[in-house]
């Protein structure tokens, strides 16, 4: 665990400049460049609003803010984790040349997609405070902590899945199915209050559902988040990081001999 944070500190320069480079490479290649960061969640929200709000008539208080928060958080979560898979194979030519921790480029992916999603998140905050009015209070102090927990959670997934997906390519296809399921199971576009009482524990064991719920209680309901969910998310992140680091120590010197690139 401590080893993980030490490594991040040791490679902070590389993390920083590689992140900038990957953001730049991303946007230079596209005509609309940076605009896509914002267009994508807006288009998704509009689509969900049309299907679920207009056609199916699902209503929650402040439905647009409800949809938007779900979409933005889920996209942050999904794009970071999906982006991390296959980084070892994609960067094999570099890993073959310089002894680097094999999760380095996964974490760089987490940084760059978190930067993108963070910008969108800020815009969403502005929207929520302008329309429904963000309730000011002590509960807002939870927000920065929550962002940190979210990044830790994504990093944990990133370490484990970047290694796993190098050994089992099938995993990349499989996770795209999982993430589609996760999208329906995270109450992004339907009312979370509809989940029956006896299934709540099961529902919130899905990390993205728990994450979105915690964000919504702060942003939409003006409440401090549930301690149980926060504890669960923190615990899960730390366990994932720890497991990932243990696995990494075993495979570090050998993985490049055993994977197809």
């Amino acid at each position: 665990m401590i080893e993980f944070f030490k490594t991040l500190y040791q490679y902070r320069g590389i993390l920083f400049y590689r992140t900038i480079a990957s953001l730049r490479a991303d946007t230079r290649a596209m005509y609309l460049g940076y605009l896509w960061w914002f267009l994508e969640p807006i288009l998704n929200t509009a689509l969900y609003y049309f299907i679920f709000g207009v056609l199916l008539g699902i209503k929650t208080p402040d439905f647009i803010a409800y949809l938007l928060s779900g979409t933005v958080i889920y996209q942050w979560y999904q794009s970071s984790i999906v982006g991390t898979m296959g980084t070892i194979t994609a960067r094999a030519h570099l890993y073959r040349q310089i002894p680097l921790p094999k999760y380095l480029f996964g974490i760089i992916g987490v940084c760059s997609s978190s930067w993108k999603s963070g910008c969108v998140f800020l815009v969403m905050l502005v929207y929520i405070s302008l329309t429904s009015g963000l309730t000011l209070g002590v509960h807002l102090l939870w927000l920065p902590l929550l962002v940190i927990i979210q990044i830790l959670l994504i990093s944990g997934f990133s370490i484990v899945l970047s290694i796993a997906s190098a050994y089992f390519r099938d995993l990349q296809t499989f996770t795209s199915v999982l993430f589609r399921a996760g999208m329906f199971l995270s109450a992004i576009f339907w009312d979370v209050a509809k989940v029956p009482e006896h299934l709540k524990t099961l529902f919130y064991s899905n990390p993205s559902a728990a994450l979105i719920q915690v964000y919504r209680s702060i942003l939409l309901h003006g409440e401090s988040p549930s301690g149980g969910l926060l504890l669960y998310l923190t615990g899960l992140s730390l366990i994932l990081i720890q497991l990932g680091m243990l696995w990494h120590r075993r495979i570090d010197g050998h993985i490049l001999k055993h994977i197809q690139t």
Binding site: G13, I14, Y17, R18, A21, S22, R24, A25, R28, A29, R91, H93, L94, Y95, R96, Q97, I98, P99, L100, Y167, F168, D252, G253, H254, L256, K257, H258, I259, Q260
Partner: protein, 226 residues
């Protein structure tokens, strides 16, 4: 005797020795796949085993061998990128070993200058140190105006020249070179051979993989055959 693979960092080596391989072997393993035999013989491939090798301070060691005998694998082992599956690799702690091959993972959309900084940082230099070396890299690589153009616009020869120039400037204790002297046009080849000569005389340890046995015979202190 065959022992399970390990890497040991210690100063407990003969005085002029930087690293030593004791009976090392490397094994490549095929990934599992549904419907394919998973027997040991079918999955495993050993390019070499029981290799013994020593590298002294300031020595230039040539490595020769036919295709597929594991020359590049050996360099990766020495660079610390892969660990042995058999035998021991013993090296001094904090030894800066650098594997030089011609394409140091360039970011296609960034310029040669930006790539030089980033490649240098991966090789353990700070950003500031690399900034100070930019002029030297620019000059040695002879890229001219292309130095500030994105790398995707480079010819393969230009890429190779950039890679070689960065590696020379990154200043390690041990340089491992995999066929890099066949880089670029004849003029650049002559120039890089000159730079190599200067490196050899500067007291650095160099391990050189090449098919050019004539060059090795003339320039290496000893030649190892795989």
């Amino acid at each position: 005797m065959e022992t399970p693979g390990s890497v040991i960092e210690t100063n407990d080596l003969a005085e002029d020795l930087l690293l030593r391989c004791e009976d090392v072997g490397i094994c490549y393993r095929r990934p599992y796949k549904l419907g394919r035999s998973h027997s040991k013989e079918n999955r495993e491939f050993w390019p070499f085993r029981n290799v013994n090798l020593e590298l002294k301070r300031g020595e230039t060691l040539g490595v020769v061998g036919r295709n597929g005998t594991g020359k590049s694998t050996l360099l990766r082992l020495l660079a610390g990128v892969t660990h042995p599956d058999l035998g021991r690799l013993i090296k001094r702690p904090k030894l800066k070993i650098q594997l030089l091959s011609v394409n140091i993972g360039f970011e296609q959309i960034l310029s040669g200058r930006e790539n030089a900084i980033m490649a240098g940082m991966l090789l353990g230099k700070t950003r500031k140190e690399m900034m100070e070396r930019l002029d030297a890299i620019d000059e040695f690589s002879e890229l001219g105006a292309f130095f500030d153009e994105p790398v995707y616009s480079y010819s393969s020869g230009m890429r190779a020249r950039l890679g070689f120039s960065i590696a020379i400037q990154a200043d390690p204790d041990v340089l491992l070179m995999d066929e890099v002297l066949s880089v670029g046009d004849r003029q650049f080849k002559e120039k890089s051979k000159g730079a190599m000569k200067a490196l050899m005389n500067s007291g650095k340890s160099i391990v050189l993989v090449s098919h050019d046995s004539l060059y090795l015979e003339k320039n290496a202190d000893s030649v190892f055959e795989l």
